[in-house]
């Protein structure tokens, strides 16, 4: 049996109310509610890593990363993700891009790879932080987010029963190599194209599995235009109650992460025997029919969507929302590092390795040749440090240069031993306490010399995130 063995989503903690965006342009919201939004230190890669960590896996055979907004256009983003997960070299990595269908394309590729027996377990992660023109409806429709799936043969919670793809060079959203922002062709004609293309993919899957639309428990239709989603479902032959909720009023359209995000949402509520029809759309369509297995009842979602939605931090203004998105477009004055330095640094700063002393047991960061406590030189071994911890002490620093002061800095004792000095992000300074539980999160620290400088920060651990209730 091949299928989904795990699923997780990550929504950035920041939100902005659509009325704030609309008001900044002197208009009315085009949609109710709010959208998710990255902080200044986040991008598609950092969101993706959070989603991967949400799977709670200790090992995997590969990482497939799908995004239309990956931070590196030349450098394998998935390889950086694999390093941040401290995975060994002998794994499969690949980036998928250039289409809103990239998420499901990556999923298809992972199903293939597992099917031929090359790997036992592939992580597919999709994330997007798309940019729309200020004042466009898309600026309000879009959101930021990530979703990850584990694809394998063991402990399958949703078996992939049938799948189909169609290709169609249809114009709906495009972005050229020189564009920072999406050009939208959203209109009633676009929705007609969506229905036509999606219908072909769905028809092939239903035909292959001998099912009628009415026999599908849940259909996941990634929204293209919030105004027309329900109508599209009806045109495709589905009743409203079959259609997966789209979270447009709380999240927005999160690019190529949308299909996997909505699949994770569907799996959070799925029962054994449910048939879930996943559609990915973009210059064609993918359709995958899943059948939920009894194992779904034992599957624990570490940080459910409802909990993540509850934890939002609201940007106080439209200007803050835009500053967060644009900060690193205008700031590239960070340190210029050599690749000679980086090669050594990645082991500690990205893989987050420390040293454990075989004599006295002390775990130390960064890796050391001589034990800080017992001075042993002979029994030290490199270890991967824990990614959760507790604040030993902290400060809220207004002097630290930051696009959004103040900066919370914390000394964190991590699970399993070792102490780190980290900036805390996604936090109201008044929330911070000695003893509070945090999770490590890779973020952009700076940019310069052709690189984004990623390093770990910490963030408050949510209630369902494995920690205590926050504030």
């Amino acid at each position: 049996m091949i299928g989904i063995t795990g699923h997780a989503v990550y929504l950035p903690r920041h939100r902005i109310g659509r009325e704030k965006i609309a008001a900044a342009h002197g208009g009315k919201p085009v949609l109710e509610g709010e959208r998710t939004a990255i902080g200044f230190d986040e991008d598609a890669l950092t969101l993706a890593l959070e989603a991967v960590q949400g799977l709670g896996l200790s090992a995997c055979g590969g990482i497939y990363f799908a995004s239309t907004t990956a931070p590196y256009l030349e450098r394998m983003n998935a390889a950086l993700l694999a390093a941040a997960c401290d995975l060994p070299e002998e794994i499969a990595v690949a980036d998928f891009a250039h289409s809103l269908r990239a998420g499901t394309v990556a999923l298809m590729a992972a199903l293939d790879r597992v099917a031929v027996g090359e790997q036992e377990l592939i992580v597919v992660v999709s994330a997007d932080t798309r940019e729309a023109s200020p004042e466009s409806p898309e600026e309000q429709w879009f959101g930021d987010g990530a979703a990850a799936l584990a694809v394998g043969r063991e402990h399958v919670v949703a078996e992939a029963k049938a799948r189909a793809s169609v290709s169609d060079d249809f114009l709906d959203f495009v972005r050229r190599d020189k564009d920072e922002r999406v050009t939208s062709f959203a209109s009633r004609f676009t929705m007609e194209g969506y229905c036509r293309i999606v219908r072909r993919a769905i028809a092939r899957v239903l035909e292959e599995s001998g099912l009628q639309p009415s026999e599908v428990t849940r259909v996941i239709l990634p929204p293209m235009d919030p105004r027309l989603t329900v109508r599209a479902a009806a045109e495709l032959g589905f009743r409203a109650e079959q259609v997966q909720e789209t979270f447009l009023e709380r999240v927005g359209m999160i690019g190529c992460a949308t299909p996997l995000f909505l699949l994770s949402a569907a799996l959070e509520r799925a029962q054994p025997g449910d048939r879930i029809l996943l559609v990915g759309y973009g210059n064609g369509a993918d359709a995958v029919l899943f059948e939920v297995t009894p194992l779904i009842e034992d599957y624990v979602v570490r940080d459910p969507i409802a909990e993540q939605l509850r934890r939002g931090l609201r940007f106080p203004s439209y200007e803050r929302f835009r500053k967060a998105r644009e900060y690193f477009r205008h700031h590239d004055e960070g340190p210029v590092l050599s690749n000679v330095f980086y090669e050594k640094e990645e082991v500690r700063a990205i893989r987050l390795r420390g040293t454990e002393c075989g004599e006295c047991g002390l775990r130390q960061f960064p890796p050391t040749r001589i034990c800080q406590r017992c001075q042993s030189k002979t029994s030290l071994r490199e270890v991967s440090l824990g990614r959760r911890g507790e604040v030993f002490t902290y400060t809220v620093d207004w002097l630290t240069p930051s696009p959004m002061p103040p900066t919370v800095l914390a000394v964190v004792d991590v699970e399993g031993g070792g102490r780190l000095y980290l900036q805390m992000t996604d936090v109201e300074p008044s929330e911070v306490r000695i003893g509070m539980r945090v999770r490590l999160t890779l973020r952009r620290l700076g940019a310069g010399g052709g690189l984004y400088h990623y390093y770990w920060k910490c963030r408050p651990e949510g209630r369902s995130d494995g920690g205590e209730p926050q504030g």
């Binding site: 960070g334 340190p335 590092l337 640094e345 500690r348 700063a349 002390l362 775990r363 130390q364 960061f365 960064p366 800080q372 406590r373 030993f392 002490t393 902290y394 400060t395 809220v396 620093d397 207004w398 002097l399 630290t400 930051s402 103040p406 900066t407 800095l409 000394v411 004792d413 031993g417 070792g418 102490r419 780190l420 000095y421 900036q423 300074p429 000695i434 620290l445 700076g446 400088h453 390093y455």
Partner: protein, 387 residues
């Protein structure tokens, strides 16, 4: 047992510029002003100096990090000059190295200059150099000490009101000192109402960024009376270096600084001090932030760990207290040009021991202490001086 420096070296001349925002002065002008004041005080001509030590954290443009900075400022050529940099303990460590050379009998008369021109630098606060691009990103001096202050409060109690008392005392002392950067009293309410810099430190909990220079002339103790009637003798010196990254040390308690404890132990051993709070008459300690002074009381053995807040609250460190601390106004009020500070603190203790400290004179000053603390509590130097 290691040998002691006690009574082997004497300070025979001191010089100190006005401290403050000296926008119209250059680093070399400040060094020359301090050095020539020290020559005059010692009653010597510049040629009498056989060697010099320069303490600067950041010499600025021209000369790089080499000792030519001092040679060119003083036109002191053809002699051994060494530049020392050891975080905020730079000044006292320059002095310590000079003392070792004199005690070894290599030189008779040596000049020590500490100088810094922080206001020429382009950023707010103290710009840290050579820091790691990732591992300590975001660290600022107040932020690094605030980590300790918050843990200390968590462990022993106390709050911003406790800290404010240190600022009020040191501003009071600074107001009495003509060379201090700030010559103004502040009230506890003013301190508490100031903008936050790094919680729990507000603006008045932080020393300023200051320009200034100070110099001392030292000589072999057995020749000191050839120069003046009232030389001040070095009784003991200790320097200790701990980790520069305490925030990565899982065993670090963050309630004080072992570097100070170790440096004080060494200085007290040399000086034969067993009960510092009773034997020391006056102290200049490193109050880069108000909490640091409270921790220093404890780490220097003036009181037990956790009881520093009572030392300030009960007025024991006030000018009229039983161990006046920072009669000069301290770094808080006199100002903190990094490399200059340690040497400047030595000049204050010399004035106190000579009885020349004017309105801020401490009564019956017999034995004085100078303490520098550098980095995130990483480097400490303690000097004990006596008549």
């Amino acid at each position: 047992m290691a040998e002691s420096l006690k009574d082997k070296v004497a300070i025979i001349g001191i010089g100190c510029t006005k401290f403050g925002e000296l926008h119209d002065k250059s680093l070399s002008e400040l060094m020359a002003e301090a050095a020539f004041a020290a020559y005059e005080d010692a009653g010597i001509e510049p040629e009498r100096v056989e060697a010099a030590w320069l303490g600067t954290f950041s010499p600025g443009f021209g000369g790089g990090k080499a000792s030519v900075t001092l040679a060119d400022a003083l036109r002191l050529y053809g002699k051994p000059i060494t530049r020392v940099e050891n975080y905020c303990a730079t000044g006292t460590d320059a002095f310590r190295n000079a003392c070792l050379a004199v005690a070894a009998g290599v030189y008779e008369v040596v000049l020590v200059v500490g100088a810094e021109k922080l206001r020429d630098r382009p950023v707010r606060g103290l710009q840290r150099e050579g820091t790691h691009p990732y591992l300590e990103a975001g660290a600022t001096p107040p932020g690094l000490f605030a980590l300790a202050a918050n843990r200390y409060f968590h462990r022993f109690g106390g709050d911003r009101r406790t800290l404010a008392k240190v600022a009020v005392k040191n501003h009071h002392n600074g107001a009495l000192n003509p060379k201090a950067h700030f010559r103004m009293e502040v009230s506890e309410e003013q301190v508490l109402a100031a903008p936050l810099v790094a919680y729990p430190f507000g603006l008045y909990d932080c020393c300023p960024t200051t320009d200034g220079a100070a110099a001392v002339v030292i000589c072999r103790a057995d020749r000191a009376r050839q120069f003046r009637e009232d030389p001040i003798y070095v009784k003991g010196i200790g320097l200790a270096v701990e980790t520069g990254w305490p925030f990565f040390d899982p065993t670090f308690e963050y309630i004080g600084f072992p570097a100070t404890v170790a440096a004080a132990a060494e200085a007290y051993r040399m000086a034969g001090i067993r009960n510092p709070v009773r034997e020391i008459s006056v102290a200049e300690v490193h109050d880069c932030f108000t909490w640091t002074e409270i921790s220093n009381y404890e780490d220097l053995g003036f009181c037990k760990k956790g009881e520093g807040r009572y030392f300030i609250e009960e007025g024991r460190s006030a000018l009229a207290g039983d161990l006046p601390v920072n009669p000069s106004g301290g770094l808080k009020s006199f100002g903190h040009p990094i490399g200059a500070s340690g040497v400047r603190m030595l000049t204050e203790i010399v004035l106190q021991l000579r009885g020349q400290a004017g309105a801020r004179q401490v009564k019956n000053a017999e034995l004085g202490l100078v303490h520098n603390l550098g980095g995130p509590g990483s480097v400490a130097c303690v000097v004990v001086l006596g008549r």
